[in-house]
Every structure is written in C-alpha cells, then in structure tokens.
C-alpha cells in the first residue's frame, strides 16, 4: 500500500517563514514537519511514498532525495497550480494502482494512526476517513457520524454539529480518481477532498476511524514556538554529538542542539528551545522557548523568549525580546493574547541592542538598525532605523 502525502501548499498564514520554504518544511524539533509525517508512515510499515510537491519544491526534494535515509522509497509528482487537495491527490494517479492512503504533509500525527488506518482500509471496502476531536472544529472539516459511518462532512461551518473533525488522513482506492474528475470546485475555486467525500457519501458508505492520539496542526507562527518543545517532551531527542557547549553554559533538559551548533560561554538555554544545524549562540545569551533555525547567529548577551529565529538570521548583541502574550494580526484577523515574543525572518539582521516588543514579526531579508525599538510587522527586505 502506498501513501500519498500532500506537500504542495504554501502556508500563507505562516509568512514570512513560508516565503522561502513551503509549510511542510518548517522545522519542529529541528526536523521538517513533513519528516515527522514521513517517519510516521515509515514506522507504520509503509515504505512507498508519493510526495505531491509544488510551491518551493526544491526544498523538499533536496531534503528527502529518494527516501533512502528513512528506509522508504519516495517518488515525486508536481502540482503546478494549487487547485485544491483533491486536485493534488489526482496528480498521483499514474503512480497508484491499488488501495492507498492520503495524508497532509504539514500535520503532526502518530504512526499508530497511520497503522490503524492502513489496517482498517485493508480489512473493509470503500473509503476511510480518520476523525479526531478538536476544540476549534469550525477551523476544519466537521464530520457527522452514524456508528462508524460518515453521513455528513462540512468544511469550516459557522455552526458545528459536532466537535469531530476530519483529521486529514484518508484511505482510498483508485476509483476515487474518477470521482475527483466529476466534482465541482468549491466557493474558493478549489477541488477539495471534502467535496470528494461528500460525493462518495452519496453513492457508497464511507467509514470513519476515530483517533485520539497526537494530532497537531501548526497553523500560526506562535504554534511553532511551543510545538517543538511539546514534541521533544513527548518523544525526547538527544542533541547532536557534534554540538559544542562552551564552559559555563547551561543547557536545560529537553533542549535540542543540532549538528555543529555552538553555545557560547555562560549562556543559559532554557526549556522549550531547539537550536538548528550550524547555529552560533554567543556568550551570555539567554534563550527560553526559542526555536532557532539552521545557520542563524545569536550574538553575545541577547535575551530571546518565545521566539522564532529563522535560517541564516543574525540577532545582534544584547537584543532583547521579553516574550509573553501579544495581539498578532494575520491576514485580516487579530489574534488576541497569543504567546509570541518575536519572529525574525530568514537572513534578517537585528542590530545590537534593539528591543523587539512582544508579537513583532520581522520579514525575511529585513534589517533593523542598532538600538531600535520595534513592534508589529516589518515587511520583507525593508530597513528600519532608529528614528
């Protein structure tokens, strides 16, 4: 049985971090989201994976290659235009000729879900949809069940008939491709799996698989800050052997340090922090609940709480991000009291002594001059000077 993993999406809500990588390549516990999915699939005993890629696909292909490192064989199909999840699945048609699974490449799930879904799918007829409970069902596809049969599925409804949602993991057989060809685009012009399932329900029985294990959707920037820590708490991960911790630095339990990362003298790395490959943390730095991507530099004396520092960014000496709750605008929605110190985009530079207020989001390639107090969103590529 093959697994088709959808990884073509962009992830706009996670800008600026998705300006240079697709959402499935955002690191959680220093591994791309998609790698967690590939591992869950591999651990469930499925060793043939079709990755549907599109937006910034070189990042995905370079990381996964032919899958050898994960003990799986990976084939790629390209979805050139993002015309919806069902359209993405349809791209895999030429590589699938038997029962198969479909998974989202940007949700964290347990391998037990994949294994159980494969078993359920193998043992019965027709499509299977994994369902899980959510505290915010209106953000997802809400599912109504009768026994273990799906009788209704509604995408992001205002009023939710249940708190059961579509977990984004499915079992199909190749006849689904014919159904996808027949469906109409939804209000956003997208051909979705939800529409496909609504159509399937009319003709045949669609089974539900209830799941209450790990299911995490990294939707917003502030999710990234805590999810890495959660995942390391849950599964543990030993720091790389080649990471260097200089004298006097203290690194808390549950912190992950990547290959060739360097923690300078007398720095304090507190809980919930992950430090990526080839990262340099200077002396007397304090990191708490911080996620530092590969190749970034945090210079001496910086204090960063509840932060994301993206790849190759430079945070200057004595920069302070106090952390805590803030109101953050995403698109046209204000999210109140979310825990987000700051996000520093890829290749951005924060000058020495700057102070980033809670909720600051600095775009990729942006430069903040020394000693500047910053808040809100700084657009990619812009320069901010002390005024």
């Amino acid at each position: 049985m093959k697994a088709v993993v959808l990884a073509a999406g962009e992830g706009r809500r996670l800008e600026p971090l998705t300006n240079r990588r697709p959402k499935p390549m955002l690191p959680v516990a220093n591994r791309p989201l998609l790698e967690h999915v590939v591992e869950a699939v591999a651990e469930a005993g499925i060793d043939e994976i079709v990755l549907v890629v599109g937006y910034k696909r070189d990042r995905i292909q370079t990381h996964f290659g032919d899958g050898n490192e994960w003990g799986v064989s990976i084939e790629y199909v390209v979805q050139d235009k993002q015309l919806g999840t069902a359209h993405a699945v349809a791209q895999a048609e030429s590589l699938v000729d038997d029962d198969f699974l479909v998974l989202n490449g940007d949700r964290l799930i347990g391998s037990d879900l994949v294994a159980r879904l494969a078993e359920t799918h193998r043992d019965g007829d027709g499509a299977v949809v994994a369902v899980t409970r959510s505290t915010e069902p209106s953000e997802y596809g809400v599912v109504e069940l009768e026994g273990d049969r799906v009788v209704e599925i509604l995408e992001k409804p205002r009023e939710t008939p249940s708190d059961l949602i579509n977990a984004g993991v499915y079992g199909f057989d190749p006849s689904v491709f014919d159904v996808i060809r027949e469906i109409e685009p939804d209000a956003n012009g997208e051909y979705t799996i939800t529409t496909t399932i609504q159509r399937l329900i009319e003709d045949e029985s669609v089974r539900a698989l209830r799941y209450d294990g790990m299911w995490i959707d990294v939707s917003y920037l502030w999710d990234l800050v805590y999810v890495s820590g959660d995942v390391i708490d849950r599964y543990g991960r030993d720091s790389a052997d080649s990471a260097v911790v200089e004298d006097g630095a203290s690194v808390a339990d549950g912190v992950y340090l990547g290959p060739s990362a360097r923690i300078g003298a007398n720095s304090t790395i507190r809980r919930g922090t992950t430090v990526g490959d080839n990262v340099t943390i200077g002396s007397n730095v304090v990191l708490e609940n911080a996620v530092v991507f590969a190749d970034a530099v945090v210079e001496d004396g910086a204090v960063l709480r509840d932060c994301v520092v993206a790849s190759n960014a430079t945070v200057g000496a004595n920069v302070t991000v106090d952390g805590g709750d803030a109101d953050v605008v995403v698109g046209e929605t204000v999210h109140r009291d979310v825990t987000l110190g700051a996000v520093v985009g890829d290749n951005a530079t924060i000058g020495a002594g700057s102070v980033l207020e809670s909720g600051t989001v600095v775009g990729d390639d942006a430069t903040v001059g020394a000693g500047t107090a910053v808040s809100g969103r700084i657009s990619p590529g812009t320069e901010v000077q002390r005024g």
Partner: protein
C-alpha cells in the same frame, strides 16, 4: 546513519568487506570494523575512516562489517562495531537505534553480563549469547529481535558457524545473490561489483544466509522475497524529483558545506582543526606550495592560491596537472604538493602527484573520495565531505573544495604564525556563514532562470572577474561550455582590453563578478568598456552602486573573501538553465566523463 555489509560463500571475505565498506562510506565515517568468522571469531575495529582500519589476511569466508556515524557514544575503538558477547564468539553489526536498550541492558547486567561500550547495539550479542544456549542461530536471532524496540538492520555471525543471520526493522537492508555466495548490505552499492541480483527485506524479516542459500522468515513463517536485477544508474528516483543530478547537487550545497566545515572550526580560538599528520615544523619551513589539479579542481586551486598566499605567506603556484613537472630549481624538502581531485582517481593528477613524490616533495590529497588512489598514495589526505556527486559537471564539490582549502589556509597560516587569531576568526566566521549564504542564493533561482533564458541565445558568453573573481569567471565559463556546448570564456577582467574585447558584440552577454575580494570598482570600469560595445552585462554583485551599470544583477550576501564562492552558485544556476532551455543532456554532456582515469 551507518552502513553494514556481510558475505558468506566460497571466496575470502576480508577484501569483500573492506571494499564494500568503502562504497558505504557516504553513510558514515567516524569508525569502522569487521568480524571474520572462522573456527574462532576475529574482530578488527577502530575509530577513524575505513582507511585507518587494517584487516589482516584471512582464509575466513564468512564475515560482517560496519561503518559508523555515532548516535550512542562517541566514536572510539570500543564503541565501533562489530560488538560481541561475553564469550567473544558472537558478533553483531547494527544500523539504527534500539529504543529500549536501557531496560535490556539493566536486565542483562543483573544477570551478570559485562558491557564494554556505550552503544545501544551491545545488548544484542549478549541477548544472543543466552538465546544460543537453546536455539540455532536463525531462531536465536528471531527471539532476540522480538524483544527489540526501535529501528535496526542487523547482521550476526558466530564462531564456528559458516552462516549469517540478518534482520530488518525500519532500516534498509538488501540481500545480494551471487553464484558463489550471498551478501547483505545497507545499500546495493556495497556489493554491486559482485552481483546485481538482489532481494529487498521487509520489516520483521529475518534472513538466514547459509552459503549461497538464502531463506527468509517473517513472524516464524518462511516467506519469498523475489529476486530483482538492479539496473544501475537508470533509477530516476535517485534524482529525488529533480530533472538532473546537476540541479540536485547544486541544491545540496548548503548541506555539503555544513559537512565540509563540521567540527573543523574553532571560532573562539581562531583555529581550524583538520587533523593533518604533516609535521608543524615542516609546514613552518615551506618555501612553496604547488597545487596540481584539472578542470574544476584547478579553478578551486586558483582560488586557494590567493588564500594561501594571503594567510600563510607562502609562495603558491597552481599547475594544470597534465602540464606539471617538478622544477629542479625547487627544494623538494621545502615544497608541499597539494593534489586536488574530486574522485581521487584523476589520472593526470595522480601522475603529477607521483612526479612530485619521486622528486622528494611531500604530497597532500584534497579529495571527496575516502580510500581513493590519491588519498592512499599521498602523504596525507584532507576530505571535502561533499557526499556523492554524479553529475559530470562538478558543482557542490567545487564549493566544498574551496571551503576545505580555505580551512587549510587558516591551518597553515596559524601553524606558520602568519595569520593572527582575529583574522583567522573572521575567515572562520565567514566559512560558518557560507551554507546560509548559499541557500539565500538558491532561493533566487526563479529569477536566475528568467535571466538565463533571456540571454540563452547569445553568440558567445564571457565571464570576467579580478583576483578571487578570476577563478570564478573561469569556472562559470567552464560550467556553461561543458553542458550547453556554447562558446564561453572566462577572463581576468583587466585582460579584456588586451585582446578579448575584439570578440565582444551586442550578442555576447558578459557576466561580471563584483564582490569583496575581486576589486569590484576596477572591474566596473571594464563593465563600462563592454557596455559601450553594446554587450548586455549581468552582474553577480555585493556592490550596490554597480547596479545602475548592469542589465541584470544578482545580489551576493556579505561574506568577505568567500563572496566570490557564493557568486559562483549564481553562475552554476545560469549554466544549468541556459543548457536546460536548449534541452542538453546535462548530466552526461557529449564527450565528457565524470572521473577521467586516463592521461
């Protein structure tokens, strides 16, 4: 990642294991070892590369081997595989991680077993020691595997038993079938020179190799794993979704560079840690360094020359290997000859190295290939750690060669006392920033493709740069000509007016390197010269004021003397997209081969 191999059959096993391990070395190279099973079991293992491992001649025809990349416990002789039980009669190699080894180890220690290493693997031979008291080897392995949690590919041999038992869960393991025996390995490359008939084990499989006979069991039942013939090189999946190996390898540069510098930079002390065995006094007494190389490696040598002269204050000459002769005017005792060759098998370069060696000079091989002829024959070897490169047009290995040679310039400079620790720290900091800077360039690919396609129909292509920009200009032209078949030349920018300017027309795009380390202001004057002949000019630049003189410009992030190396990544992408727009056979350009083993 680790690699394992095993063989049982009628041939002597030791050479099969060592050559197989060399092929697997890309999977890890911090320690290696083999177990040869005769009437007694002999283990040979140590920290270091496979070259460091000496395996004595042996009549044994059954054995297993391992190359390690540490996960549990540092790379030491004791932590190397194979691991044995208390009696020393059972040996195990393992790729993967045993999650429940803590609990198993505690049980075994309580039962009186003694452990030598810090590894998770060592629980397996001790568990087998107990199981073998009651069962044969295949059943014993099945019983033990049932108790293991985690991922593994295992190979097991025991004294006095002419058989191998292998088991797989979540880690790759293939079986090779030959007329005179059978193989197990993490990857087909380990034994592809012996057989192409392979079967792939599935999770939960236990394979029993008894001479040429292979029986596979899963959950106690005999199962059939069909034998397939691998068609080497035809497997499109290996390109990982890319149309060409070259483009894949261009994109692998950030990771290749992280590997090249990993563990070699001590930014605080301003030291490069290269573990060379060339004596310090010898390096201090050098009159001259001679670099011998061909093609792209020669351009890396030209780049290194300037870094060595600047940092180590030693006269450095770069010679095309096929043109090289050791001059009698030189003192061989005060001359170091550095052979730069990706494959380590380039015949011209080996020839030059041997001439130098015969003249009495010491030689250093800078190569990507552990165990290659150059690495074995030279007095010392320095690895660039770029991983396998398959595209004929070298890309990531150029970047890794320059990065590694830059580290060497720091090492020699510090040894000779010519480079201050603060200057060294600056360069090391730039080296550390190299992977991120290269990724930044790769992110610009869509725009590079647009520009490349726009100028693809030029009559000829010229590349100009000064100082460190000169080797990059030569390399940019070489890439373009070898894969697009267009006429392309690289020039020292100042030389334009002494001849080549006659070739410049409105139909000859000129690519200019305008970064730190390339005297960009002077080159900008040359840019104006060609523009007045109406040639379109594309700049790769860290000089903002240059932009208004350029028809298209790509920006290079600040990185000191390594900016030209970062600029080169743009030129690689330009060459690729020009050639691709013309439908060229990019990975196998006409008339060219990857590793030229004839003179």
């Amino acid at each position: 990642m680790c690699g394992i191999i095993g063989y049982v059959g009628s041939d002597q096993v030791a050479p099969i294991l060592t050559s197989g391990l060399k092929n697997l070395e890309y999977r890890g190279y911090d320690s290696a070892g083999v177990a040869l099973a005769d009437d007694v079991l002999s283990i040979h293992k140590r920290e270091g590369t496979i070259d460091d491992l000496t395996v004595p001649e042996s009549t044994a025809t059954c054995g297993i081997g391992h190359t390690r990349w540490s996960t549990h416990g540092p790379p030491t002789d004791t932590n190397s595989h194979p691991h044995t039980d208390c009696t020393g009669e059972i040996a195990v190699v393992h790729n993967g991680i045993i999650d429940n080894y803590d609990a198993l180890k505690a049980d075994l220690e309580a039962a009186g077993h003694e452990f030598d290493s810090d590894t998770d693997t060592e629980v397996i031979p001790h568990l087998l020691e107990e199981a073998l008291e009651r069962y044969g080897l295949p059943t014993a392995v099945s019983r033990v595997v049932d108790r293991l949690e985690g991922s593994f590919a295992l190979g097991v041999v025991a004294a006095g038993r002419d058989e191998i038992v292998a088991a797989r869960n979540d880690s790759p393991l293939v079986v090779g079938h030959a007329d005179d025996g059978a193989f197990i390995a993490s990857d087909v490359t380990a034994f592809v020179e012996h057989t192409r008939d392979v079967s792939y084990l599935e999770d939960g499989d236990v394979a029993h190799l008894d001479g040429g006979d292979v029986r596979v069991y899963n959950d106690g039942q005999r199962v059939d794993r069909p034998i397939q013939t691998v068609d080497w090189g035809a497997d499109a999946a290996e390109k990982g979704g890319y149309d060409h190996y070259m483009l894949k390898e261009i994109h692998e540069q950030p990771q290749a560079l992280r590997q090249a510098i990993s563990g070699r930079i001590d930014a605080v002390a301003g030291e490069a840690d290269l573990e060379l065995s060339l004596p310090e006094q010898y390096l201090a007494s050098l009159d001259e360094i001679q670099i011998v190389a061909c093609g792209t490696s020669y351009h890396a040598g030209l780049y290194a020359k300037r870094l060595l002269e600047r940092h180590a204050e030693v006269r450095t000459t770069v010679k095309i290997a096929s043109e090289y002769a050791f001059s009698p005017s030189r003192d061989p005792w005060r001359t170091l000859v550095i052979a730069v060759t990706q494959s380590g098998e380039t015949a011209d370069t080996l020839g030059a190295m041997r001439r130098a060696s015969r003249a009495g000079a010491k030689t250093l091989a800078v190569t990507n290939t552990v165990g290659s002829t150059a690495a074995r024959e030279a007095d010392d070897a320095l690895y660039i750690r770029a991983g396998p490169e398959i595209g004929v047009a070298a890309t990531k290995t150029f970047a890794s060669q320059v990065a590694t040679l830059a580290l060497l310039s720091v090492y020699v400079g510090r040894t000779r006392g010519t480079l201050s620790s603060s200057d060294a720290s600056d360069l090391l900091e730039h080296l550390r920033g190299l992977p991120g800077a290269v990724q930044q360039v790769l992110d610009e690919e869509p725009r590079v493709r647009t520009v490349a396609t726009e100028y693809a129909d030029g009559d000829a292509f010229f590349f100009v740069g000064r100082r460190l920009g000169h080797p990059v200009a030569l390399e940019g032209a070489l890439k373009l000509k070898e894969i697009s078949y267009d006429h392309a030349e690289g020039f020292a920018a100042g030389e334009l007016k002494h001849g080549p300017l006659a070739l410049v027309t409105g139909e000859t795009p000129v690519f200019a390197i305008l970064t730190d380390g390339t005297s960009p202001d002077e080159t900008l004057n040359n840019v104006k010269e060609v523009e007045s002949r109406s040639a379109p000019v594309v700049g790769v630049s860290s000089l903002e004021r240059a932009e208004k003189f350029l028809d298209a410009s790509f920006s290079v992030p600040e990185l000191g003397l390594l900016e030209p190396l970062v600029a080169n990544v743009y030129l690689q992408l330009i060459a690729y997209h020009v050639a691709n727009s013309k439908g060229r056979a990019i990975d196998k350009p006409r008339n060219l081969a990857k590793s030229v083993t004839v003179e």
